[in-house]
């Protein structure tokens, strides 16, 4: 039993220590269990930048109030491999956003994917792996 506990502890500790140490861009700030879906989101800003691209949208909540959301995605180099370009989305576009919200509860997070008005789906380079 002591062996099992010792090994288990070692595995847990080594995971805790090694992954944050070497991860390139972490996402521990976000609740990645389930993506929040923002339908009818109007793009207000799209920054195609390093180290991370990010998107800002306005979307109405259940009470009809406009909420300003912001979501980050991978670098242009990573997103480019998935079909994104600097002009994939532009201010005024109405899209659907799948986003992993910050654990703070604020309207900010990491994109899972976006769906454009014509149905085109653009996935994030990291967490967009996961189908929602």
């Amino acid at each position: 039993m002591r062996i099992k506990i010792g090994l288990s502890s070692a595995i847990v500790i080594s995971l805790l220590v090694s992954i944050p140490l070497f991860a390139h861009h972490g996402n521990t700030a976000y609740d990645t269990n389930k993506a929040v879906v923002l339908k009818g989101a109007t793009v207000t800003k799209f920054v195609w930048g390093n180290p991370h691209t990010f998107l800002m949208v306005d979307v109405k909540d259940d009470k009809g109030n406009v909420v300003h959301w912001a979501g980050e995605a991978g670098s242009p180099s990573s997103l480019g491999l998935l079909g994104w370009t600097k002009d994939s989305v532009q201010s005024g576009d109405v899209i659907t956003v799948y986003i992993y919200q910050s654990k703070t509860g604020r309207p900010v997070g990491r994109l899972n994917k976006i769906v454009l008005a014509d149905g085109t789906t653009l996935k994030d380079s990291a967490l967009g792996y996961r189908e929602q």
Binding site: F22, T28, G49, F54, S75, T104
Partner: protein, 275 residues
């Protein structure tokens, strides 16, 4: 009982290595996730083969590399090095770090060779070789005309230290370019972990063209003020790019500040201790 401690060490070593692999350009998937990221240009060239013998004294052209290199030896800091290392708080995504990357300050050297290594190029000039890095479109002049490195950088009457220091080079055999650098401003970091250096640091880069398509790099640091012994900072491998096509990878200060204010701070990245 003794053996119980051997196993965890092995486990830690294996996991540390595997998590390092996560930081590379290798697509990874986790339970419940579908791996859909297509391979990068570098990954596509993994099976390209040697492409013939390496030409003599010729690294010219554009090379693709992985996102990040492999770290080498664990640096052994002097007391002065430890004191300086403690002041460096790495994380480009934190409002409270002092990582030069956070506001897109120049990487300087040798960080330009140890961080964001997707693209590298060489061009031969009349008196030297220009070594270019895709990330931030960095240009370094490596003098090949026999001149010596400056020895009094930062001293009275001597030349000023610089972000990328002063570099000279020579060929070791037919296919290895050796670049020596000193006089680097000590506000630059050795790597993304925040290891420091002094102006007197001496760096040796060895670029060995193994065959036509493969280039291997070793970066070695010698800085007695900061480290008790010389060490290999990183090793890396590059592939000759058939199309000779680079990407534009620029860290833009205004965008980085915008990112911090719009994403990192509201998302509470500091609050969860993201490093």
């Amino acid at each position: 009982m003794k053996n119980y401690f051997v196993s965890p060490i092995v486990v830690i070593a294996v996991l540390a290595f595997s998590s390092f692999a996560l930081a590379q350009d290798t697509p990874t998937s986790r339970p419940g996730q579908v791996d859909q990221r297509p391979p990068s240009v570098y990954q596509k060239m993994a099976d390209a083969g040697p492409g013939g013998p390496a030409p003599v004294h010729d690294l010219n052209g554009f090379w693709n590399g992985p996102l990040e290199p492999k770290f080498g030896d664990m640096p052994s800091l002097t007391p002065a090095g430890q004191a300086k290392f403690k002041l460096n708080i790495p994380d480009p995504f934190s409002a409270h770090s002092n990582d030069p990357w956070r506001t897109c300050d120049p990487f300087g050297f040798p960080r330009s060779a140890t961080n964001e290594t997707r693209g590298l190029a060489f061009a031969t000039m009349p008196q030297g070789i220009v070594l270019m890095t895709q990330y931030q479109k960095i240009w370094r002049m490596v003098w090949m005309d026999g001149r010596a490195l400056p020895t009094n950088v930062g001293k009275k009457g001597g030349p000023s230290s610089r972000w990328y220091g002063y570099s000279i080079g020579h060929w070791d055999g037919d296919n290895t370019l050796v670049v020596e650098t000193t006089g680097v401003d000590d506000k630059t970091w050795i790597d993304r972990r925040g290891y420091p250096h002094s102006v007197d640091m001496h760096v040796e880069e060895r670029y060995t063209r193994v065959d036509h398509n493969d280039l291997e790099l070793t970066v070695k640091i010698d800085d007695p003020k900061m480290y008790t012994k010389p060490f290999v900072s990183v090793t890396n491998k590059f592939k000759f790019t058939p199309q000779q096509q680079e990407d534009e990878q620029l860290c833009v200060p205004s965008e980085a500040i915008d990112y911090l204010n719009t994403i990192a701070i509201p998302a509470g990245q500091d609050e969860v201790g993201q490093k």
